[in-house]
């Protein structure tokens, strides 16, 4: 989208091409000076990010976000100008590691992040915004033309190589070098790399700008990669500017990947195009398939040296006869690996029938590769239903086959075998698990992307595949097959930690918990938050309060998704409370909810929460049901209602969840039951004691009669004696 078009759509005055030079810096500054009041629906005091930056939703900056919506920002504290806010997509979380490392760091030629937070967005919903400096001018895509070689080297290659070198020194990669995310103040000015921190690495990169082993992965599955991937993208950008047009324009992304794998990136991208010898030599190294063959940024600072660096990269060995896997015709092992990765069922069938091993030996003539493949697969001779030896993988059962094993186990083993086959055939390939291609460090972002609509079958399938991959420790097996390129020990430790999360019972474990744990800045996607952008637990309390205020008939404030978020973001002390929430699909236990809410209020939001208190108050009879003593209940009821109205959940909990008082209550009710039993026994004895009392009365009466007779006799004797 051109800035002009966007400006027209946004209702701001149309600007000429010449005025676009230094447009963003100028217009950010101008906007900062012109006090445009925020819409009434957006309270300015509460919408400040980091207590400092106000996102001016009414003033979009078209093209400044490199594919993401960007808006002008007002710094209400320091009065900085030339800032922008890049709107984050909910399911593509920002790069937390980059934000941490680049916090407070200024790198010339790079838009570094300043702050991250939530603010009202268009439509009234909250959205996440990444604050960074606005680009100095329009993107290169806005003024695409043929660049002379000297300009390419001086104003593009060297500045970007310098930035990449500084990033590499900090252990970071950019992964956002593309035509619409590199900016320039004007002719004669060096370029500036745009913001690449508002999405997972390379999530917005087109297939043409990434190596095929990255482009084959979904946007959220590409991982941090290395600075060598940035060098590749820089090579593509250089080629684009050298040609004055985008290479492979209009070609389908899958076709671009296939061509790159089949013919090599350099050959496909350049094709019959003619570029200068100097740039052509540089591009040969920068567009190498193997990241280790690409020149490092430090070398690119001196293009002459970088040009002279020749790394002998053997082209893939082509077979005289191809092998077909599905509809893919494979002439070499790299294409075969790609075919297995993209068509897992057909690939597995071809592996099991031995057709692939045969082709490797007879057509490709690579017996060593065939032997390695056989070693990795180790098919069992089990009649016509061969299984595949694995590492006790637990899979999602998508490819479940096999003789005496369960479908899930067989499916997991098949997936693991297929992944090993792909890694054996092509050392550069990512993990290929049952059709899902991803890099090990992208598991979290893959899951986050799949959470976009958890009910969608495709997303549920992806989540299931990731669970199978983690459960089977596939990362470790994959890393062992490429010992020079991956640290299998570190990966194994990471996998074990993630596995532990996956297997935790209840809401503290499972895929949702794992997703939040692996994506520290992913907003909470639990039900009922009304589109609020909740990243911190303090914000969650506010969101829950708002939800409870809006919906008094709310089944439960803390749903399963929110519980997983709390378990991931809260300290370890909250985990037992989350576990005690129990089954979050049936009837809610208000006391368990109250325990967690009260702890969260005490730790993260020590302000009254009257709406949540009212939710508790509506369930006061259920809560009081735990007390046996009815006078105690009657005594507690008004106190509870009073505390609920005040929104002090901790005090409410203290009143309801007093262990000493509950113990006394239990003891007393047991004593009361014993007393009741004694009374019943006494009443039963009285009811059954009629005959006994009759006999007693008869004896006693006769004794009394005898006593009276004896008294009369004694009286008469006394009278006779003395009278």
């Amino acid at each position: 989208m051109s800035p002009t078009k966007a400006a027209v759509r946004g209702g701001t005055p149309r600007t000429t091409r010449s005025s676009l030079v230094n447009q963003f810096a100028g217009y950010s500054a101008a906007m900062a000076r012109a006090p445009t009041p925020a819409p009434a629906t957006f309270p300015s005091a509460g919408s400040l990010i980091n207590g400092q930056f106000r996102v001016e939703i009414a003033r979009p900056l078209p093209g400044a976000g490199g594919g993401l919506p960007a808006f002008a920002v007002t710094d209400v504290r320091d009065g900085q100008t030339g800032l922008m806010a890049v709107q984050v997509r909910r399911h593509l979380p920002v790069r937390d590691q980059a934000l941490q490392i680049l916090s407070g760091v200024s790198v010339d030629g790079l838009l570094t992040p300043l702050a991250y937070g939530a603010a009202p967005a268009q439509g009234g919903e909250e959205a996440g915004f990444l604050i960074c400096h606005a680009p100095p001018g329009p993107a290169l895509s806005a003024t695409l033309r043929v660049w002379p070689e000297a300009e390419l080297l001086t104003l593009l290659l060297r500045p970007i190589a310098r930035v990449l070198d500084q990033l590499a020194q900090r252990g970071l990669s950019h992964r956002g070098i593309r035509l619409d995310n590199v900016f320039r103040a004007g002719l004669g000015h060096p370029v500036t790399l745009g913001c690449a921190w508002a999405t997972p690495p390379a999530a917005l990169q087109p297939a043409v700008a990434e190596p095929p082993y990255v482009a084959i992965c979904r946007p959220g599955s590409r991982g941090d990669g290395t600075v060598a991937d940035d060098v590749y993208a820089l090579g593509v950008l250089m080629l684009t500017l050298a040609l004055g047009r985008a290479p492979l324009a209009g070609v389908d992304e899958a076709e671009i990947i296939r061509q790159k794998l089949d013919q090599g990136s350099h050959a496909v991208l350049l094709g019959e195009q003619r570029v200068g010898h100097f740039v052509g030599d540089l591009l040969r190294g920068m567009l190498a398939e193997d990241p280790e063959h690409r020149p490092p940024p430090s070398l690119l600072l001196d293009p002459a040296t970088a040009r002279s660096r020749r790394t002998a990269a053997r082209p893939p060995q082509r077979a005289p006869r191809p092998i077909e896997v599905g509809n893919v015709v494979c002439w070499h092992a790299r294409m075969l690996a790609n075919a297995l990765a993209t068509q897992p069922e057909l690939g597995l069938r071809a592996l099991k029938t031995g057709a692939i091993g045969q082709w490797l030996r007879r057509s490709l003539g690579d017996g060593a590769l065939a032997v390695r493949l056989d070693e990795q697969l180790g098919f069992r001779a089990a009649g016509n239903t061969p299984g595949v030896r694995g590492e006790g993988a637990r899979g999602d059962g998508a490819n479940g086959e096999g003789g005496g094993e369960t479908g899930a186990e067989a499916g997991g083993e098949n997936n693991l075998s297929l992944m090993r086959a792909v890694a054996t055939l092509d050392q550069l390939a990512p993990m290929c698990w049952n059709g899902l291609n991803l890099w090990p460090d992208a598991i979290g972002t893959t899951l986050a992307e799949a959470m976009q609509d958890p009910a969608a079958p495709a997303n549920a399938e992806i989540a299931g595949r990731v669970a199978g991959l983690v459960g089977g420790e596939a990362q470790t097996a994959w890393a062992r097959l490429r010992p020079d390129r991956a640290d299998s020990k570190r990966l194994r430790m990471d996998v074990r930690q993630v596995q532990a999360l996956l297997h935790l019972p209840g809401a503290v474990g499972g895929l949702a918990r794992m997703t939040y744990q692996l994506n520290p800045l992913l907003p909470c996607m639990g039900a009922g938050l009304d589109g609020r952008w909740v990243v911190r637990l303090g914000d969650l309390m506010l969101a829950l309060e708002a939800t409870a205020r809006r919906d008094r008939a709310l089944a439960r404030p803390i749903s399963a998704g929110i519980a997983a978020f709390i378990a991931a973001r809260g300290d370890r002390g909250l985990e037992p409370l989350v576990s005690r929430l129990g089954d979050l699909t049936g009837t809610a236990d208000p006391l368990a909810q109250l325990r967690l809410l009260a702890q969260m209020q005490a730790r993260y939001h020590p302000k009254p929460l009257p709406a949540l208190g009212a939710w508790i108050a509506e369930r006061v009879e259920t809560l009081l049901g735990k007390w046996h003593s009815r006078p105690r209940r009657a005594e507690l009821r008004p106190q509870l209602r009073e505390l609920a109205a005040s929104g002090q959940l901790s005090a409410l909990l203290a009143l309801l969840d007093d262990p000493q008082a509950h113990r006394s209550d239990d003891d007393e009710v047991q004593q009361a039951a014993r007393d009741l039993a004694r009374i019943d026994a006494a009443l039963a004895m009285l009811a059954a004691g009629g005959p006994a009392r009759g006999e007693q009365a008869r004896r006693l009466g006769q004794e009394v009669a005898a006593g009276l007779g004896l008294s009369a006799l004694a009286l008469m004797l006394v009278i006779a004696a003395f009278g």
Partner: protein, 170 residues
């Protein structure tokens, strides 16, 4: 109500116990006979007079089949109380057979003695009824008090479902 455990006694022991009990009863009977015989032999007017005045008591002793003869005991004691004055008069009159016959045939003396016997019988029959009424009243009062306490306990602790209380004593 649980039955008391049965005590099995060996036949020889049972014979011994029966012999001992029967012997004591026989001895008492012999002692009473000896006493009566002695009285008749030594004091015939007194024996005559007592025989006439204590006739209902002796009849009661014969008819009362209860252990300890509680009714006959009351009748006898009351009759004896009524006999004190006639016997004293007899002894004051020299303890002659004529005086004894006169006294024994005196309707006042005889009526008083026999009325006393009747009073003794009435007492033995009516006082148990009175005592029974008192005991039942006390039981009812106690049951009512227990029910009140029970209802209060059940209401306080929510133990309404802990079984219905037994029905009040009839």
């Amino acid at each position: 109500m649980a039955k008391p455990p049965a005590i099995r006694v060996a036949p020889s022991a049972a014979r011994t116990i029966a012999t001992a009990g029967g012997g004591r009863s026989n001895m008492l009977m012999w002692m009473q006979g000896l006493l009566c015989g002695g009285l008749v032999a030594l004091l015939p007017p007194t024996a005559l007079l007592l025989g006439a005045l204590l006739g209902p008591a002796l009849l009661a002793l014969c008819l009362d089949g209860q252990p300890g003869k509680p009714v006959a005991r009351g009748v006898l004691l009351c009759s004896l109380a009524a006999c004190v004055t006639p016997v004293r008069v007899l002894w004051g009159a020299g303890q002659t057979m004529a005086a004894s016959v006169a006294l024994a045939s005196n309707p006042n003396t005889l009526g008083t003695a026999w009325s006393a016997a009747a009073a003794g019988w009435l007492l033995a029959e009516l006082i148990p009824l009175g005592v029974r009424m008192v005991l039942e009243t006390l039981s009812l009062a106690q049951a009512a008090r227990l029910r009140t306490v029970r209802a209060a306990l059940a209401a306080e602790w929510g133990l309404d479902g802990a079984g219905e209380p037994p029905s009040p004593p009839g």
